[in-house]
């Protein structure tokens, strides 16, 4: 299938003779089939907020997704179905990874914590697993990587350090510091003896895994490097940068293999399907680019979602991919069965820009509350608890939601008066210690309209 579609793509290779480095510039010529009724083949609904991280188990049977709704969802892949929800983080979860034995799942989040989840196979539906808290960084944790032997875990954090953790002893071995600014991505080398890391400072660095000593910079990009993948056998590093460039360079020498992109839209995610020689990149405006790593030719280039692609996964059979973004769901796309280049930002309007005229109260809810709260009786899986029947409810008492200590101890009963007070004075004053971000509504009319809307909508 790959070959059939590649034959429809015309590529022009340019050579930069000045530096003696081959730059490959790929122009995708407009294709001839036009079908404007194309949509994602599947929406995978389980989360109640943007999905930030995806991972596939090494046996390709399970997938995990990490979300802004504080949860990790474990999916079966054959067929695709939600298996269980893992609740343990106290803030948005950014990243999740399976160990090479598939027995452990690690997750990192905005609460700076690294949690381990022990999995037992076959995975049964809706069984709760208690997490093991491996440790904490001083900033949000944004990437993870297990060593091949499953004994160690690497973590990348916005505190500027790389954490090295002993999984068996469940303790930190060291925090490697050296990047100037947040660390975005981290990986073990094939033999676990070295560590690769990339960061906001625009460098991919090589470290000694044993003592944490800095060996040398592998890439100096200037702009932040959000994501990268290394193939030691084939001798390349592929990376995506915050200035929108996708670049592939030789691992052992300063030689460029490929450079794509000049639209200045940051590249935010990538996935390397090694066995099929495919590598996929997602950017901040929903564009997917898929490359063949044998010929370094463009396989696909299309707009998959509205807004950013925080993570993506190519399926093992290499005919479909899953993307995660600002939507509360994951979308699965066929890669080859349509000419997706012509898609113009598919997907629904974001909830904050209602297409129809709505009341001021509903608008206030949509813009200021709806990212974390629903109004439905079953809307538990969000960053905040559902507001269904909130009037008359004692704060911190909705079953199934993991409240902060502050809310559990609170004596507030939600009413017109207390909700008005919450948005007038702010959650930091009314419920100090709450997980709720500081949301205030200065205008009395806005608060009144919101309460009127909520009274009707939460019945």
């Amino acid at each position: 299938m790959v070959r059939i579609y590649k034959s429809k793509i015309i590529m022009i290779f340019g050579f930069d003779f000045k530096k003696g480095i081959r730059n490959v510039i790929i122009f995708l010529m407009p294709l001839f089939l036009i079908n404007t009724n194309v949509s994602a083949i599947e929406k995978l609904i389980a989360h109640g907020g943007p999905v930030k991280g995806l991972a596939v188990s090494k046996n390709k049977k399970y997938m995990a997704s990490a979300s802004f709704d504080y949860s990790v969802v474990l999916w079966g892949l054959n067929p695709i179905e939600e298996k269980m929800t893992l609740i343990g983080h106290d803030a948005a979860v950014n990243t999740v990874k399976f160990s090479h034995s598939n027995n452990t799942l690690a997750s990192g989040g905005d609460d700076n914590k690294i949690l381990l989840w022990q999995l037992k196979y076959p995975i049964k539906k809706n069984i709760s697993i208690e997490p093991i808290i491996l440790g904490e960084h001083r900033g949000k944790v944004v990437d993870l990587d297990f060593s091949k032997d499953g004994k160690y875990l690497l973590t990348a954090s916005w505190d500027g350090s790389i954490g090295v953790w002993d999984i068996i002893k469940r303790k930190n071995i060291q925090f490697i510091k050296g990047h100037k600014g947040p660390v975005y991505s981290v990986k073990y080398s094939e033999d676990n003896s070295q560590i690769y890391s990339s960061g906001y400072d625009g460098e991919i660095r090589l470290w000694n895994a044993k003592n944490g000593n800095f060996i040398r910079p592998l890439v100096k990009n200037g702009w932040g490097i959000s994501v990268f993948e290394v193939n030691e056998e084939k001798n390349f590093i592929a990376y995506g940068s915050t200035d929108g460039i996708i670049k592939v360079v030789k691992l052992n020498e300063d030689k460029e293999i490929l450079k794509i992109g000049n639209n200045r839209t940051p590249v935010l995610s990538m996935y390397y399907l090694k066995e099929k020689n495919l590598i996929s990149f997602g950017n901040a405006k929903g564009r997917m680019i898929i490359l063949d790593t044998n010929s370094w030719s463009l396989v696909r280039d299309f707009n998959a979602v509205n807004g950013p692609i925080w993570d993506n996964i190519l399926f093992p059979e290499d005919t479909s991919l899953i993307v995660a973004g600002l939507d509360d769901f994951l979308t699965r796309w066929e890669i080859f069965d349509f000419p997706p280049e012509i898609l113009d930002r598919p997907g629904p309007a974001r909830r904050f820009n209602p297409l129809e005229e709505v009341s001021n109260g509903e608008k206030q809810f949509a813009r200021k509350c709806s990212v974390c709260h629903t109004l439905n009786s079953d809307g538990k899986k969000r960053a905040g608890p559902t507001l269904y029947k909130v009037f008359g409810r004692k704060a911190g008492t909705l079953k199934g939601y993991k409240y902060s200590e502050a809310l559990l101890k609170s004596k507030i009963i939600w009413s017109e008066k207390t909700i008005n007070q919450l948005f007038h004075e702010g959650p930091d004053k009314v419920t100090p210690g709450t997980k709720m971000p500081i949301q205030k509504m200065k205008r009395y009319d806005d608060r009144k309209d919101l309460i009127t809307f909520l009274k009707e909508a939460t019945k």
Binding site: F68, D111, G224, S226, F352, D428, P437, I438
Partner: protein, 196 residues
């Protein structure tokens, strides 16, 4: 309508950090946050260059594309601003910003992050122009007062230019013509892939 732009002339920047201090003072920026910073490359070595960096008010700003609550907006002068009433401090804009412009207070909610703060091009925010609320959340609205950003006004060597893009370009063009070939905007070739 003018399209507002910043340009830092690396041939003139002497890393005095007056722009950083002036910004912090003018807007009473809280402890731990700098809306502007001076970056020095090749520090102490031949070819050393300093450049003052803040939000570049991109025409097609990536922060706007990734915000889950759509708190960003662009004024008709091209200034990228945000609403602190809507911001939930998720940090997504920091992932997307190539310049590291979004800043977060050290204490707050959501994994110890409060409302995002960034350079406003001295243009305030969505509150009423020059109101107390606007000043408290976003700092002074100098554009509404008929003034230009304080960082550029304070720059002793006039390395940092701010204002109408056409005016800024004219001033810089004159400098390059008088200095000679090769003295254009530092990093331009790298940024726009004109070399190497």
């Amino acid at each position: 309508m003018a399209r507002m732009k910043f340009l830092c002339d690396a041939e003139r920047c002497i890393e005095c950090n007056a722009c950083v201090t002036a910004c912090k003072n003018e807007h009473e920026v809280p402890w731990g946050i700098n809306r502007r910073r001076v970056v020095t490359i090749q520090d102490g070595k031949p070819g050393e260059r300093s450049i003052s960096v803040a939000c570049m008010h991109c025409s097609d700003a990536p922060c706007m594309a990734v915000c889950p609550v759509d708190c960003f907006y662009q004024t008709d002068q091209g200034v990228v601003l945000h609403s602190k009433d809507l911001c939930i401090g998720c940090g997504y804009c920091f992932y997307a910003c190539p310049f590291g412009a979004p800043q977060y207070p050290q204490a707050g909610n959501y994994g110890s992050r409060g409302k995002m703060d960034k350079c406003t091009f001295c243009a305030g925010g969505p509150e009423t122009d020059m109101s107390g609320d606007e000043f408290q959340k976003y700092g002074r609205n100098r554009l509404a007062e008929g003034k230009l950003p304080v960082c550029a006004e304070m720059c002793s060597t006039k390395a940092l230019l701010a204002g109408d893009g056409d005016e800024v370009a004219n001033i810089f063009r004159e400098r390059v013509v008088s200095r000679g070939f090769g003295s254009g905007a530092w990093g331009w070739g790298t940024a726009y892939q004109l070399k190497g």
